[in-house]
Symmetry: C2
Subunit: 321 residues, 2 copies
Amino acid sequence: MNELTLQDVRDALARIQPHITRTPVLTSARLDELSGCRLFFKCENFQKTGAFKARGATNAVLSLTAEQGARGVATHSSGNHAAALARAAALRGIPAYVVMPRTASAFKVAAVERYGGEIIFCEPTHAAREAAASLIVRETGACLVHPFNDPRVIAGQATAALELLGEAPDLDVVFSPVGGGGLLAGTALVVSALRPGARVFGGEPEGAADTARSLEAGTRTPVDRPASVADGLLAFVGDLTFPIIREKVSGVVTVAEAEILRAMMLLIEVMKIAIEPSGAVGYAALSKRSSDFKGLRVGVILSGGNMDLAGIPWASSRPAP
Amino acid sequence: MNELTLQDVRDALARIQPHITRTPVLTSARLDELSGCRLFFKCENFQKTGAFKARGATNAVLSLTAEQGARGVATHSSGNHAAALARAAALRGIPAYVVMPRTASAFKVAAVERYGGEIIFCEPTHAAREAAASLIVRETGACLVHPFNDPRVIAGQATAALELLGEAPDLDVVFSPVGGGGLLAGTALVVSALRPGARVFGGEPEGAADTARSLEAGTRTPVDRPASVADGLLAFVGDLTFPIIREKVSGVVTVAEAEILRAMMLLIEVMKIAIEPSGAVGYAALSKRSSDFKGLRVGVILSGGNMDLAGIPWASSRPAP
């Protein structure tokens, strides 16, 4: 595979633009005051399907040839990528097969069903998911669209940063959450190309800090049993995303569960927007290290807004009034 | 007092415009589909202080003469009006005295403190609040700004509907929550003047349905011990607001607690915006009666977004997936 370039990202944006939302870049005097920075929030919570994942999935699906597309697409991710892939497939009128563990929350199942995804339930083990996905691909000839370790997906996710720099061209720093690394790698690709002096940081839950650990070790290093309220960020950084991150990202800041929930609650209370825990992790990381960026212009990607209102331990971590 | 006119509302908007947010009018294909209507949401959750109350309080404070203003303003409302009045006073550099029951939530106290309001705590009875407020007014000469029963406040709240009709001029119906009636009366004033064929409805919690009851009786009729999760709508409709409502409003739809929470959760989950229970009551009322408005263009005022995240019984009323 050739190396991804800014042109690939521009092509992706042209391809997906009719089908996605150009999400707003919001600011808040109160959050500026709290951080000492000038913050520019790229609000992917307002993206189609409620998360940036619509960008990468749509780019991947629209990049398929007619022949490939006709056989449909498949994934065994059960989060925002699954809903995004189902929606993208529906745009092309092709099937999307989504393998989900039978223990998946009603909230996640409903999101995939809403966009017409065909759900295949399996036992809640990694092996069962891979086996079920392989079977589907063999039976249908569907194209497996990986949630992050795919150049078309990385180029799609990168379009969020392209739009952000279009509206706030003179950023000094950009923060993004990191799970499997598609969004962070794509962001770093765009920022390093368009604004080489700016630094890009990832935010990662302490309980799933494989990317921070991998950067320290210089090689991809998983963590045992990743766990966090930020359930969109549990994946192990990919072998396509990690090299980009290692080359172009200035660092990954890890954050505790309480820091994630506090960031999420501040965003909800001050900005009056819905944010899921994973979506707040870039802001949590910036908040933790804001003293390093005093007076600077900082872009923060808020990656998703699919709050499962029944599932969040609100009361335990209220910010002080 | 002379009757309020559209010109008063236009004057109010000119007066407050530099100090308030022109909030967006958002739409949602999914909520349109659920209701069968074409919905236009006026998002006052994004208003300064998180609620439409900033409009009326700012108009009242900026309408004071220099001499009146110098003595400050006072209120014994402890909700969004108190924070809005504190902010409006700060804009003029004058004191705002806010009488609050000592049992008020930390959330509400913090909101008033944030804008520099001077809080006077009292016993949690209506008599104690009135007494404390009277004392403050006697001691300081401050001007008492009522949260709704004041023509300057009604004219200010009416500016939300003026902006809404500016962006969606051909509405057939407009829904607004009703507590003391400032927002509903102001909305009806504007809609009846600018679009006489359109109908205006209020949404009111069943547990605080004094306005619905008053309309039935033809005269202001309180309810005993009003109670609702929509804590911004417990006030008894005012003697200035009720006549406007009786003359210009087509009806008040009462909604159960579960209907309010379901509406709130739908708005959060689908539109990715923060909404407080009171802010969702207009939408809850429209949802309950949507079959009466099939195919029509319906404006819905979402009046506030100050969600107290620790205080809402989420899990008990999840919408079906």
